[in-house]
Amino acid sequence: MPGKLKVKIVAGRHLPVMDRASDLTDAFVEVKFGNTTFKTDVYPKSLNPQWNSEWFKFEVDDEELQDEPLQITVLDHDTYSANDAIGKVYIDIDPLLYSEAATVISGWFPIYDTIHGIRGEINVVVKVDLFNDLNRFRQSSCGVKFFCTTSIPKCYRAVVIHGFVEELVVNEDPEYQWIDRIRTPRASNEARQRLISLMSGELQRKIGLKVLEMRGNAVVGYLQCFDLEGESGLVVRAIGTACTLDKLSNTSAFLPACNSPSKEMKESPLVHAPSHGCRSTHNSPIHTATGSRLTQNFSVSVPTLIYTGMGSGSAGKEGGPFKTLLRQQTQSALEQREFPFFTLTTFPPGFLLHVGGVVSARSVKLLDRIHNPDEPETRDAWWAEIRQEIKSHAKALGCHAVVGYSESTSICEEVCILSASGTAAVLNPRFLQDGTMEGCLEQRIEEASPPGCGFCHIPYDELNMPFPAHLTYCYNCRKQKVPDVLFTTIDLPVEAIVVGKGCLIQARLCRLKKKAQAEANATSISNLLPFMEYEVHTQLMNKLKLRGMNALFGLRIQITVGENMLMGLASATGVYLAALPTPGGIQIAGKTPNDGTYEQHISHMQKKINDTIAKNKELYEINPPELPEEIIGSPIPEPRQRSRLLRSQSESSDEVTELDLSHGKKDAFVLEIDDTDAMEDVHSLLTDVPPPSGFYSCNTEIMPGINNWTPEIQMFTAVRVSRLSNINPTNQTLNKNFNDLCENLLKSLYFKLRSMVPCCLCHVNFTVALPEDELVQIAVTAVAITYDKNQALQANKAPTEKSQQRASTDNEEQLQFPLELSSDPLSSQPFSPAKEALEGASSHTGIPAAQRATSVDYSSFADRCNSWIELIKLKAQTIRRGSIKTTTSLEKASPLAEGYLRHRSVPSGTNSTVSVVKMTPLSFLPGAKITKYLGIINMFFIRETTSLREEGGVSGFLHAFIAEVFAMVRAHVAALGGNAVVSYIMKQCVFMENPNKNQAQCLINVSGDAVIFVRESELEALPVPAPTAQPAGSAGDVTT
């Protein structure tokens, strides 16, 4: 009996009127966990019942604790007929199972009904007592922490990053069971919600087991998705990166005092877990039976494009024996892993050595009923196949690892496209194993790859390149080769040197497809895919050049399948990396050079394009200093690369090399206009309207070039469904419609948020779905963050200064990131090489004294913090009283903790006000410090209506539902004691309507990390050593 779950039902408020006669409600509550149910008394005739129940105690296995949600049902008692359900609350008690996380869940939860939405609120208190359980074959994995955040969470330190974990579970979808025909929609929705909740619990437990097996204690970058396969079932799958995390000791002082005894008890399972025999049913990440699969299933693997720069070039200097050495080292570290994948997108400094480029794989599958849910072999095998392909692509790029890895599906009827993508990379082995690699190698690595450009250096062998690429010497260090363009799926590394600002770049594409059945359908889809990939890539490339930029980060390509078309939407953040060469312009070439008017038209277009490039450069402040030619080691004659925009059946075959002397710039990109279609494409290139002044947008965590965020944030979700009304749609008109739809949506976002100017839309995440014939649904989730324009101007004066000081100004700009954006400078501290890295860097030419000063500061900062903590501890010892443990007294002694409590007690003290919960898709909050992670939020809701018109039509229905989802997320976070959700993501929003029947249904799945944050302004008042240069002795004032 490893756990005791205790639940108390306190009160309800604002309940709906259930008895029309009296305008009142006789409410009582059922509390269910597993198969045990308790009931409260009926509180008669009140809309604000006060149950104040006893503690309901459930004695359960920890396995059950992990899998099952706590179900709270509020009902109206009826003497003569069946009791009416008012609504339900599902509480995931997982956050109570980690040590360090929440110790109690307590607060007002919205009572939710799938037909009526939120109907009042209920106040609940939940606690868990866990008991030590040492000598058992464990099926549970209590204590493994989960994070949605795709970087090492602030206030933790990565001891080891173990690598990829994945799992999937399948079940029949209750909506498609025979019983669904005779039960009410409410019952069916609730069955579905419950099942998915159960499946996610099970999935998380299984992943946790794998992590324990790898001797990790946490999963970072945890991404869980549902595939609603309809008739053939329901798949819940998850991927993540197993890590061993250490809580940064100093932050523990920042925790609010929560001296519940259960906390002490919970520490132990975690500590013991790795050392005891963990028997997992699945030892290897994939199942082995793959033989029969192909006979049953139709499967097409799509040739994959590797997204890196295009072009041809010549070889240069030696890659060095060092690189090979490094490769061997890394290889040995990664070899043990079946899939050296990492779902992280931001890494500790020094972790990422080189980036190869984007690797992706897609596969078209036909769904069939999953016969045995306990053996989900086919789905496992499908994914294994794709991952294998990704792995081999990465190898071809000379990389051993894939970072920023993600998986997705698109399902239409029985066809399913599985996609996986990531960025091939070479990693520093130091983080992959327990400190064994540290030593002599380290020094060399730092020397070899200076910060700020090291990751741009090609990982592959120049003489034996996997694809035609155009290489030059790095514009930063001039020692290593870099490609001319770099595409990645990760966030911009903090150490990267960027010129100007970044911007959101999207490629949008529609392709018609014939309606077909089964295999014919799958074949036609898989035939279309390579062309779509190619076109998306070309569009991205063109738009990137049009903005005068040379690298893409956070690239996410989504291909959506519908009944009669395919849609592709790629989003990324373009930047100008100082290490890469200046991108060439775009040249237009006509096919019929004899026609005079045509020529004129062409030249007109050319002018327009050139103007746009110039304008964009100004807008994004891209003014890289001109480099005197002799600085670049050996000038390589630059051949011009030509590619056709469209109509090229085989993409790489008609590459022609020719010298273009008329155009001064290197490797100008030529668009060949051979028919009206191509013309349209050029036009569409130019239709992308830049955001209005005061706005920037990106889809990465941070906006390159903006570093003075102010604390105001606004997270939002916008959803649009549009009907493509064309009677005879062509690819062109569809493209235009789709393009307009996206542009208009962006425009309306800018308009809505105009009061926040100057601001930046960060983490702009578009999701496209094709719910029906002719219907396109786009959902966008993003966060608008304000910044201080005046400071921004000051910071940007620097780049305009002198060309010779290029490196210095760049460094100055990016320097702000470690200080301000990774709001916890301590997170970089444990990686002691940061010191070396920066010092190593400062020995390079042109690094200003300012940076050197910071590097010194970083190293001494750790000492200072430690000594400060020691002092606090000493102080804590002296004021310790009675039986309070040292840790709690330490917390109490911390002035911050008190400050925090004061802060929190303000909203909770006055009963009527609701505490504010911030939500953001980013992993941080500007101007704030995350002091504690409370656990993962992973919620799934269904809402259905049979009175669509009365609820304000489809818009009214969905508007209310999304608001309700936000409210429920906020309520759960607040009940955990948190005040924010970070890394929030809406993973699914499936909307279906039947206007004729006045019905609609929507499913939404969201997740994120519940956290406690403290405003930095509140921190300042406290004697926390600020990350500015201060003598180490300054910690002395703490004692006073």
């Binding site: 408020r13 604002h14 007002w108 919205p110 939120i118 609120e121 209005p692 606004q714 997270m715 939002f716 979700t717 916008a718 959803v719 649009r720 469904v721 549009s722 009907r723 493509l724 009304s725 419609n737 307009d740 739809l741 208009n744 425009k747 309306s748 976002l749 800018y750 308009f751 809505k752 105009r754 219907l775 649904q777 009527s912 006000t913 609701v914 504010v916 919960v917 911030k918 939500m919 304000g952 489809v954 818009s955 009214g956 969905l958 508007h959 209310a960 999304i962 608001a963 309700e964 936000f966 409210a967 906020r970 309520a971 909307f991």
Partner: protein
């Protein structure tokens, strides 16, 4: 390509003040868009009409969802559905409950009944306030009235607490509701078990504002009074008279019950019915004012008529029929004669001060406290109403 569905939901609910105003004024989405266009948003923000439409629709939807909560403002504070910063919540409530004085003036003296609601079309035409806005404001009055009619304690404070309105607005509402105060008194009498309430409790609900038909006929006469005048009058009556009536628990120690207050007012009649007292009163006031007031002769001539009017207004307050004549009486019997004699406001003030103070020196007059309490409100009303 038309958008069937188009929503934007922020974690913090966006409130556009301009759109909120348009919504409150009762404009449809199309009208609101047209007005925003005229406001020049397009030029300022460089956006398109479609964007403006979508934005307006979003806000309208939000407001419609919020309206249910605005009907009970404390729920707006407790609800979890919309995360709205406190200052924005306050703004939402204040704007929602703000009313057009022209409309309030029209509604004064009318029943807050379905019949009146049907007549709002005409009111809307007369006042230029949109019909939808009229209906909303009408419902607001009615809601506030219903919420506080059975509550005890100071009216303005009750309204402030129940509807989270700023003090000034709450006082205005209190003034409006106060018009139904006669109804409250009536109920109070019923509560005390008074065998013969001055008017029927069934009619009570109908007696709202300075209700009824006589008021209609006197309307022309009262036309020069604004809503602000009435509100101020109601407020001073509440301030001076109703302490006991509206907060009986606070008033109980004094034994100063409204019933007795109104009944006691009849005792004041002695001031005009007793010839000696009347003469003495007159001589006291006249001697005090001689040489200080420009209209001394007129005062001397009219004193008895004025005094009779001032005292009788109070004496009639126990009868529902006469309550409605309160303002008409004041205007007809005090303000108009004074005005025709060209009294200045200063003259009136001086007169009222001494007129109120004088009975202190009258031998045999024992109702000094009651008299001053009564006259305090009457003086304040008269001074407020004494303008063109």
């Amino acid at each position: 390509m038309s958008s069937d569905l188009d929503v934007f939901v922020g974690n913090t609910t966006l409130i556009d003040e301009e759109v909120y105003r348009l919504w409150l004024d009762g404009h449809s989405v199309a009208e609101a868009v047209a007005r925003r266009l005229r406001g020049g948003v397009l030029e300022r923000e460089g956006t398109s009409v479609a964007v403006l439409q979508s934005d307006t629709r979003d806000h309208y939807r939000t407001f419609q969802m919020l309206e249910r909560l605005l009907h009970a403002p404390p729920r707006l504070l407790q609800q979890l559905l919309f995360q709205i910063p406190p200052e924005r919540q306050a703004l939402l409530v204040q704007r929602y409950y703000a009313f057009d004085e022209a409309l309030a003036r029209e509604l004064l003296g009318k029943k807050l009944s379905k019949g009146t609601k049907k007549e709002l079309d005409e009111v809307s035409a007369r006042t230029g306030v949109g019909i939808r806005s009229c209906r909303r404001q009408f419902d607001n009055f009615k809601r506030v009235f219903k919420a506080v009619e059975e509550l005890r304690g100071p009216l303005a404070e009750n309204i402030q607490q129940l509807f989270l309105l700023p003090p000034a607005l709450a006082r205005d509402y209190a003034a409006i509701v106060f018009s139904g105060i006669w109804g409250l008194w009536e109920r109070f009498w019923g509560f005390l078990g008074c065998p013969d309430p001055p008017f029927s409790s069934r009619d009570y609900a109908a007696i709202v504002f300075f209700a009824n038909s006589r008021f209609e006929t006197g309307k022309r006469r009262l036309q020069f009074l604004s809503f602000g005048d009435f509100a101020a009058c109601a407020q001073s009556m509440m301030a001076h008279w109703s302490q006991g009536a509206l907060a009986p628990e606070a008033a109980d120690p004094d034994g100063d019950l409204p019933k007795s207050f109104l009944q006691d007012l009849k005792e004041l009649k002695v001031l005009v019915s007793d010839k000696d007292l009347l003469d003495q009163h007159k001589s006291l006031v006249c001697s005090a004012l001689r040489g200080k007031i420009s209209v001394y002769n007129e005062l001397e001539a009219n004193f008895k008529a004025l005094s009779r009017a001032l005292v009788n207004v109070g004496g009639k307050l126990t009868h529902a029929r006469d309550v409605r004549d309160f303002f008409v009486d004041l205007v007809e019997k005090v303000i108009e004669p004074c005005r025709s004699d060209k009294w200045s406001p200063g003259d009136l003030r001086l007169f009222l001060t001494h007129y109120t103070a004088a009975p202190r020196n009258l031998p045999g007059f024992r109702h000094q406290a009651l008299w001053e309490r009564y006259m305090a409100a009457i003086s304040a009303c008269l001074l407020r109403m004494y303008h063109d």
